[in-house]
Symmetry: C2
Subunit: 145 residues, 2 copies
């Protein structure tokens, strides 16, 4: 029987997080999708290469916590669209070093600027205290740091 003192779905943290994540993802997705035809994983891979320089697929997997098949397919897509190139690592030919092309860097710069703008616009609706607490809580839940 349904009790009355039950958890409201709107308070249930996984649900709240999912809805909030979906809402922001859909907003920002428009930017990379419309401008560059990218999917979310592709944008994440592009981001890592733009932010941290040349990486192997494996490194991106670890840093972004993405499965290797997802990364593999994202890299293929980005390569086809000329956003990155691969170069063999002579000392270990299992790895391929991934580097952004000029076009990739330019897309990264553009998207990052947009991301910052969007992030700031979301954050602007909160006080400084709220911002700090929100970030702290989310990082903890996401098991960062």
């Amino acid at each position: 029987m349904t009790k009355n003192n039950t958890l409201q779905l709107q308070d249930f943290l996984p649900y709240l997080l999912n809805r909030a994540a979906e809402a922001t993802s859909l907003d920002f997705q428009k930017t990379y999708k419309d401008r560059y035809g990218m999917l979310r994983t592709e944008w994440r891979v592009l981001y890592h290469l733009g932010r941290y320089g040349d990486l192997t697929a494996k490194q991106i997997c670890t840093m972004a916590d993405l499965h290797k098949t997802k990364v593999s397919r994202a890299v293929l897509a980005l390569e086809r669209q000329r956003f990155l190139v691969r170069t063999e690592v002579p000392t270990d030919r299992r790895n391929e070093l991934l580097s952004l092309t000029k076009q990739g860097v330019s897309a990264f710069d553009d998207l990052q600027e947009e991301a910052t703008r969007y992030h700031n616009s979301l954050m602007a609706t909160f006080t400084a205290d709220e911002q700090a607490i929100l970030q702290k809580c989310l990082r903890q839940i996401a098991k960062f740091s």
Copy 2:
């Protein structure tokens, strides 16, 4: 060129939210998946019926912000597993009223209890102030109320 005062991905709100949402979803997913073989959408639909009583698919779409095809398929799956039944509404035969079976209610009770437990265990790591702010911020971002 990559600037230095750039946004850290770990601070980027959509990314943080996604990672946090994924982490909690994966945790809780185990419960409804292992115990009842449910998918996330099925759990959401079950939840709405358990929490709010009999509803039509359309009502669930609106309340849960789910697309009608997702709901349609979740209802089919829940019906096959005998968690709910449909009854035609005589005054408008386009709608079908969905009601949980005894088995559905029992799954709901069980899962809700587990959800509450999980929610509380997550929240327990935060102070009361942090909890309140976290919820407030997430609701706002999720465009709730």
